[in-house]
Symmetry: C2
Subunit: 575 residues, 2 copies
Amino acid sequence: MKLIRVDMTNATVTTRDVPEEFTNLGGRALTSLLINAEVPADCDPLGPDNKLIFAPGYFSATPLVNTSRLSVGAKSPLTGGIKESNVGGTVARDLARLGITAVVVEGRPEDGKTFVLKIDENGEASLADAGRIWGSRTYEMVEQIRDQLGPDYSVTGIGPAGEMQLSAASIQTTDFDGRPCRAAGRGGLGAVMGSKGLKALVVHKKGNAPAPLADPEAFKTAAREYARAVRADEFSGEVLPELGSAVLVAPINAAGALPTRNAREGQFEGADHISGETMAQIIRERGGKTTHKGCAQCIINCSNEYVDREGKYVTSSLEYETIWSMGAMIGNDDLDTIARLDFLCDDIGLDTISTGVAVAVAMDAGYKPFGDGRAAIEMLEEVAGGTDFGKVIGNGPVAVGKHFGHPRVPVVKGQSMAAYDPRAIQGMAVTYATSPMGADHTAGWVVDQSLEDFGGTLDRFSAEGQVEASRNTQIHMAAVDSVGICDFAQSGLAAPGGLENVCKMIAAKSGKAFTEADWTDLGTRVLKAERDFNRRAGFTSQDDRLAPMFYEEPLPPHNKVVIISDEEMDKTFDF
Amino acid sequence: MKLIRVDMTNATVTTRDVPEEFTNLGGRALTSLLINAEVPADCDPLGPDNKLIFAPGYFSATPLVNTSRLSVGAKSPLTGGIKESNVGGTVARDLARLGITAVVVEGRPEDGKTFVLKIDENGEASLADAGRIWGSRTYEMVEQIRDQLGPDYSVTGIGPAGEMQLSAASIQTTDFDGRPCRAAGRGGLGAVMGSKGLKALVVHKKGNAPAPLADPEAFKTAAREYARAVRADEFSGEVLPELGSAVLVAPINAAGALPTRNAREGQFEGADHISGETMAQIIRERGGKTTHKGCAQCIINCSNEYVDREGKYVTSSLEYETIWSMGAMIGNDDLDTIARLDFLCDDIGLDTISTGVAVAVAMDAGYKPFGDGRAAIEMLEEVAGGTDFGKVIGNGPVAVGKHFGHPRVPVVKGQSMAAYDPRAIQGMAVTYATSPMGADHTAGWVVDQSLEDFGGTLDRFSAEGQVEASRNTQIHMAAVDSVGICDFAQSGLAAPGGLENVCKMIAAKSGKAFTEADWTDLGTRVLKAERDFNRRAGFTSQDDRLAPMFYEEPLPPHNKVVIISDEEMDKTFDF
């Protein structure tokens, strides 16, 4: 297995075998351990000492389904701490097919030089002048690269926001159809890519050198079992294919946990207009696709193709978090506008969550009224145009709050929360507050454990058990993000014997025994490395706190505040 | 002695005796100990939980010269840590004359309400609607208040920058002639005042209830001795009256320590055009004042009145740090432009240091060429106008760096350094890095100990002795800022027996013995409280580091970098 190092200062590429200590690691384990080992914790996230690491999950390109997951890691310019941002599409499979465990981008080129990094069908990497590709939005970027190289490459790159090194900039990657609609959105890693003058990582799709499996038969048997469980599960087998993640709009709104108008309320009167059910109906009526394969190796097909009244493509993979951030959070109940905003974020290279919340904070500060979708579109176009105010929006909610002198900024460690208000689901308060990633829903999603409708048994308004639930989920997710199983395919893990089955696959790939205790150790090791980096970067327990609004302002309709004490928060990482 | 608490939430004022634990404290000791005791370290600096404290020095309104020094304290929106900003004028004397030890401004009014706090000749405080005074620049603010109340009040307030809660906003106070040209500049405390809806603190000048002296004769004897030493000293007795602090331009430039063009060089080819000698000559030729009394109780008269070719007033108290920040730092060698920029900062309510450095970072990022004084003036007018870009400038150098994605931002804890490059005076590296205030020259000015011309014995390019020198000076200055002796009158302390003399005055005022060891204990106690607050606010040793540029880029002409190791830095506060 190969590790490619790209020195942007001298525009050179070296390929080496993966060092002993990092073998049998993938995804988030690899990015976080490498960053903790190699990146000075006190470095400027946009300076030459930071490293941007692309690493496919450990299972990518194996026979296991739903494993084309790429971890992108760096020190984050948004949080100032370590970041792993996880994305689907095809690039993880493509890298893994070429036998590449990680691509580590280091240094910084002389002023003004910009590059595209190509990895060809033999796994050979080379840097080329980005030329006029630099400056393009992502859909145009993909077109230009396809014109030059043909269709056989996945493209992972940045739009204008990343080029301008804005803190809410994403890294976009092409989906199964070759559209750059999938985002490693959080943590502003697009800005890190921009700071390195790297417009795109372009990877040939037809590699033929995946990591060998030590015991192929054992792996395949377990993988078949896993796929069967994913298909058999009602949520991943039926609901997600039909409605996508947007299915969450109705139950989270019913629970009073859908942050509305910059989290002034927990229910949105327009929720029916933006629900998964409504979206599916609109798409069907217009001839779009409600079931759509977005990622390589996927059997769920939770993606979609949203089209306009004329049946013309608007965006793909319109998901719950975006429907929330560009919908309820800004008081907008028009799905067409939401879809347009989703496309613009993809095209400009912006995290839909941070950007929607940035718009919400601006509206809350009185810049424009809540619900003014046209104003939101204009704000995004300002980001693309690089106007002074556009940069404020593109730098995320904290920058917007500072710009307007407005205190209601729903963040932890500078990163905005996602579509679950922690006042209505106290376990999410723990995850947001304590995750090394800043407020992040995927780091420890305890929503299912907190809502009765989902079979949850936690009392979501009580402090009891929340720390433990978040801790266990965070450990589990750190391992999931390392092997690279899609979050939506976790039904295979949750099924009886599911974790044992995954451990069998790790053992069958590595040739070494792997127990359920090893699984917990893996997650723990990753989290400890991340916490260690953050501590050395200057984080203290004071950083494991939510924004004051969550402790002070009761959220209608339940009128609760976050009640997890600081002492309890600080127990989360007592391990 | 009275402590006035102003509750901005309910617009009420209460006056109480000073609590036992804070008696016999003044200035920085009072602001820092009160903040550490009462302000939640993790609060939003612009939220209701922060407190803004005005406290005259312990010696203010006593017979001792040069003691009308006001400490303004709060949690800083610029650094996120504790801040004391120190300013002259007349207000400290005026408060002390009324028997007022501190004014503590708490809470935050309902949206849109703004106030003026008046303290009348009986020491009674009352809040009045700011009316149309809100919105004014500071010179206009003073005019309006004078129209309403007559000339017998000192005025301490904010301009548009503070109203907009920008992080480089100052609090301006009127000088001996009633002009708002003296600034509590650093740390963005004007934004805190703005967040509380308080436009101005207006204090009657003719109070007649100063704190009694326990032993008036002993105090007066020592005070006479002190004044004699200040007058006898060549620097405070002759140089400062003639040239003001601008006398430093030539020697600091000669030492290669004058940060030029955003600290790319340590010498400015235009230094002769902006030196104290040149300024004095220009002022004399035009009929301005080179010797000018700026503060009550002052016998040095280091201030000046800078006039234009027609002899018309441009600005007052044009000082070294401003001549640097608006001159060498932005590559501008035109004193008329510098004087205009100084006036604009006073009038808009901006820290001249942070603002000049913000302009320098913008120029370094390529926004405008270095030396373009007209562009600098336009940038300041943009701040006043509240344009998007104006807010970026008004939020200081870090905001500007972020806006342009530009990494060369010469700050510590988010606050810009002052006019001494730490690469050419290593002791200043220690002070900038470790002061609880962020990069701050007054917190531990070791320049005199580092330059041979000033009688210094430290090797300024060696690490040897720097930590000790900075530590001792920081402790000393924390005590000086607490008793409220003007920095420029320290000749009285440096004279043989000077410290003993000051201790005698403390004892003569309080009626309790006070030794030189008590002096060190006072400084240490203040610094420990400040460090404690910062630690609880989340600061770690990682925050006691200079910006990377100082470690990485050799500074011409000596081509040195900062060589103080992290381990040495961390020893500074081992006490």
